[in-house]
Amino acid sequence: MTYVRDVGALARKDLLLELRARDTLPAMLLFVVATFVVFHFSLPAHPSKLAASGLLWVAILFTALLGLGRAFLPEQEQRVLDGLVLAPCDRSAIWLGKSLATLAFLAAAQVVALPLYALFFRPLTGSQVLGVALADVGICAVGTFLGAMAVTTRARELLLPLLFLPLAIPIVVGGVGAGVAAEPGRYLVFLLLYDLLFAVICWASFEYVVSE
């Protein structure tokens, strides 16, 4: 139970920090809308179902990367991460708390982005939205984990997209499939399995990312 409380305290801290700073979430919102507009100009009119779905996922992925790159910024400044690592709580709680907070931000950005997408391009199906939700979990779990890794390196946030995109490819496949395929169930199950598998790996190995 203390583990859950630790995660709660850490997630609350991250939400509080973003509420104060109010920079990441507005940036993500603006970015996703701008991306849609760019897509309109860079792609043919009336894109096919597959193409439109692809657009959505490119937008989601890169908006998420924007937020994820900054996820560990407060801890990076002045090495506050040391303070968290020294605490007796399980180190994986740091990852889980941060992931949950990032998930909240991503979901908040999508609450605006998805209706806009439906307005600009194509209406959304239920399975598509479910796909987005499941994919969000995977994106935040893996992205937060890699973000912690990236931030300790010399290249910092520059490294995150490089580390993350190969791992994000299955998510995109699942997400696009959930929206486009005749039988979305298969793709949704795939996303769920991806989430479970990588969440477990992240949870088990975060300890090693933050300690020597």
Binding site: L50, M149, T152, T153, R154, A155, L159, L162, L163, L165, P166, L167, I169, P170, V173, G174, V176, G177, V180, A181, R186, Y187, F190, Y194, L197, F198, I201, S205, Y208, V209, S211, E212
Partner: protein, 238 residues
């Protein structure tokens, strides 16, 4: 809490097989494989002579997987058992994996050009998978070179190597699923029914590639260990 540091172990021989013996075996095996592939194996009914590159393409692919698995295994040993040698070994395995992976892309591309007239085919699962893995393990190197040598770099590399090995089956499944979206028609696999001399040739090629990979691994490992030892000695003298 108890923490102990570990120095780089001596460059003594740890395996019973010596490097010169390995190099010689590699040479013999690769030559034999070449002979078999070009002269002994029968012509493929469908694709003729060009199919022969497949013996190498597949055996190199399997070897690359084995290297990545080796990298992940050593990574696990580093994280779990705190084996002081494991970080370097993991890195060298991943390096070999990347080299062989690049060869997979090259041989696959050549085969695609000869058979289908295009230098790249998105319909070839193996090829696409290796492209994803190529990206992933290149990122591994970027990660490794972006951190100063030390326990942190070893930890990060090890964790990422483990992610990589999990990514292999997941990506494969994803690529299969993606094919359903893009090409509802499933392409029939190129491989003929392996029988007789074809199987023998393939086996020889596979063993040759595995031994070659192991030889290169040992070669690079001993080189890097020597470097480390030299640095250590320099320290003592200073």
């Amino acid at each position: 809490m108890r923490s102990a540091g570990a120095t780089i172990p001596a460059v003594g021989r740890t395996s019973r097989i010596s490097l010169p013996a390995l190099a010689a075996s590699s040479l013999v095996l690769v030559t034999t494989a070449l002979v078999f592939v070009f002269f002994v194996a029968p012509n493929d009914a469908n694709q003729g002579f060009s199919q022969r590159i497949f013996y190498f393409h597949v055996s190199i692919a399997i070897t690359a997987y084995a290297c990545f698995a080796g990298g992940a295994w050593k990574a696990l040993r580093h994280l779990w058992k705190r084996d002081p040698r494991a970080d370097l070994e993991s890195y060298v395995w991943v390096h070999q994996g990347l080299i062989f992976g690049t060869l997979v892309l090259l041989t696959g591309s050549i085969w695609a050009k000869i058979s289908w007239g295009h230098w790249w085919l998105w319909s070839e699962d193996q090829l696409v998978l290796f492209l994803v893995l190529f990206l992933f393990y290149c990122a591994y190197f970027m990660l490794r070179f972006s951190v100063d040598p030390g326990p942190q770099r070893a930890n990060l590399s090890a964790v990422y190597a483990l992610f990589g090995v999990v990514l292999i089956p997941v990506s494969f499944a994803a690529i299969r699923l993606a094919k359903n979206l893009i090409h509802p028609v499933v392409f029939t696999r190129h491989g003929p029914n392996f029988g007789g001399w074809m199987l023998v040739t393939y086996c020889i090629a596979q063993v040759a590639m595995l031994v070659l990979a192991y030889t290169l691994y040992r070669l690079e490992l001993s080189g890097k260990r020597l470097d480390g030892r030299l640095r250590e000695l320099k320290e003592v003298l200073v």
